[in-house]
């Protein structure tokens, strides 16, 4: 009876000890994973920055114009080669702007600077 109790106690502490060791090892493993992922994040962020810079450089109007001339043999249109077509959207946009200008004038309520001489 006494031996059985002692065995149970050893077993109990053994399990607790093993759990503790397992937990510590797992903690270290997870910490290591977090550290690795953090490094990966930093590296990916850096890569993103570099790609963003390259994208901005390649989409610069001067780059596109150069590529259009050299690689595609494109040229700027000559006068008369372009025909402007009136669009409802453009007209609506102009009307909206005029309306905004009137509203601005009403809001400002500023009178002309006519002289009193």
């Amino acid at each position: 009876m006494r031996r059985s109790g002692f065995t149970m106690m050893v077993l109990f502490f053994g399990i607790i000890g093993s759990l503790y060791v397992w937990m510590r090892i797992d903690l270290l493993r997870v910490s290591s994973d977090i550290e690795r992922l953090n490094d990966q994040r930093v590296e990916l962020e850096h890569r993103q920055e570099v790609l963003h810079l390259q994208l901005s450089q390649l989409t610069a109007p001067q780059k596109i114009a150069q590529a259009a001339k050299r690689q595609l043999n494109l040229e700027m249109p000559q006068p008369g080669q372009i025909v402007m077509v009136a669009s409802d959207t453009a007209m609506a946009s102009n009307e909206k702007r005029l309306k905004n200008a009137v509203q601005l004038a009403q809001r400002l309520n500023v009178t002309p600077h006519r002289s009193t001489y």
Binding site: H52, L53, L98, P112
Partner: protein, 577 residues
Amino acid sequence: MKPNIGDVSQSSRFRSAILCFGLLVGFAVIVSRLFYLQVIQANEGALQAWNQHHKSIVVESNRGVIVDRNGSALALNVEVPSVTADPMSIEDRGKVAEKLSRALDVPKSQLMKELGKKQDFVWLKRKLDESSAKAVQQLSLPGVDILMEPRRFYPKTTLLANLLGFAGIDSQGLEGIELQYESYLQGGKSLVVFQRDARGRMINPVGSRKLRASEGHRITLTIDEVIQYIAEQELDAAIQRTQAKGGTVLVMDPATGAMLAWAIRPTFDPNKISAGSPDLWRNRAVTDVYEPGSTFKVVVAASALEEGVVEPDTLIYGGDGGMSIAGTTVHDIGKSGWITFSEVLRHSSNVGMVKAAISLGDKRLYKYLRAFGFGEKTEIDLPGESAGILRDPSKWSSRSLASLSMGQEVGVTPIQLLTAVSAVANGGYLLKPYVVSEVWNAQGERVLKREVEAKRRPISDETAQVLTGLLQEVVAQGTGKRAGLAEYAVAGKTGTAQVFDQKAKAYSSTKVIGSFVGFVPAEAPRLAILVVIDEPKTEGWGGVVAAPVFRKVSEQVLRHMRIAPKNGGLMKVAAIS
């Protein structure tokens, strides 16, 4: 005498008790001390230990990005390597300096000076390219390390350089938008943490060192990079064609005061600031003043029309093209005879405009010039703005009124003149021009939004309409013919100003500034454009050197902005098909 066993036992117990007590007291002292250190002083102790094993260095964090109105990046950051060293842990400094000198292309003496410092951290070379950093890493020098820090890049190189300005080595704004919006652009500081070994040497790997701080705000400009490119291309072509010293093209939305393009030549590459002279960095459209010449007649005409001293069909005697004033003669190009005020503007008659200005009088003219914003800053959100030069009438000579009517004896900045002419385009409102429309923080919240802001209204809508008609005639039949567009009505004015020679104390007969200022479409203006060509050599007249630039820029920009012509193009399409 033999000792009594009972006495010995008692003595032994007494000593044992003393020993036990001593141990107990000692143990209690140790426990108390441990309690004090581990519990009461726990935080201070931990900090002290951390400081012994770590070294922290503060470096600048990412500045905010600057983008154009469509979100295209104009200034951004990329982390680049910098070489650092811990001189205290380097034994053979001469050998290390020699190896680094070859890898970094830095004089050995300079490296020796840095490595000779009694510090545990020094910068050896900052913000270098990846290949140089790899070369340093391959050397595996003890006490030498690579640290990543952000570097400012301007991916569009010279595009918009004079407006953007640039940031310094410590990411502090030094010119242009970078300087003006420094408080928004600068981020928090980043803490870089090194672990140290028992001898105090830094040992931690690079990747895990950086603790990121808050990033700077994102700034959205009113500038459109395509319009900017068009303006710069045409300005470059004009300068090359006329062999001019430099030039400026500004494009503004006259209804809001928002700048769409800001082209200045000569310019510089903000990625290589050390390669250009500081003179190139200047934003000359706000810092430099010039005599506007006949483009200034727009403002004088607006004042005369507003006051009712002239009307478009008022007859003015231009005589034989000359007029004596204060011992000097004002000349026109040819004989004029009796001409209407609209013809005065159309042919840019100096005599006619002088007479209109005389009718107006010095006080009234001065009042209008001030109302149009001359002699004061436009309050544009850019650093170093000049107020221009406009003297008080009490300091005018007997010729000043005549000179002012022709755009002499007055110093204006390009942005002042364009803002004044925009007031004619928008129905009489003098607006505050601006280049930044919005500012966003790193969390995506908008912290600043610019609204249209009118300073005052120098002229009425009626006067603006009448003057717009007269300026349309200038382009249709007068000196500004080369600015005309087939599909759109253009209103504008040419200007050819002689440069005042400071040495000779007289106007130069060879050096001129050719300019054109106008707006399009005249009936509902969307673009106000100023073109200034500085000291062209092959040809000088504003109508010849600057007006064609206006036409080419406005033609392409109207197309880019998808602004339909007044009568559309449908009939023309039908005719073609």
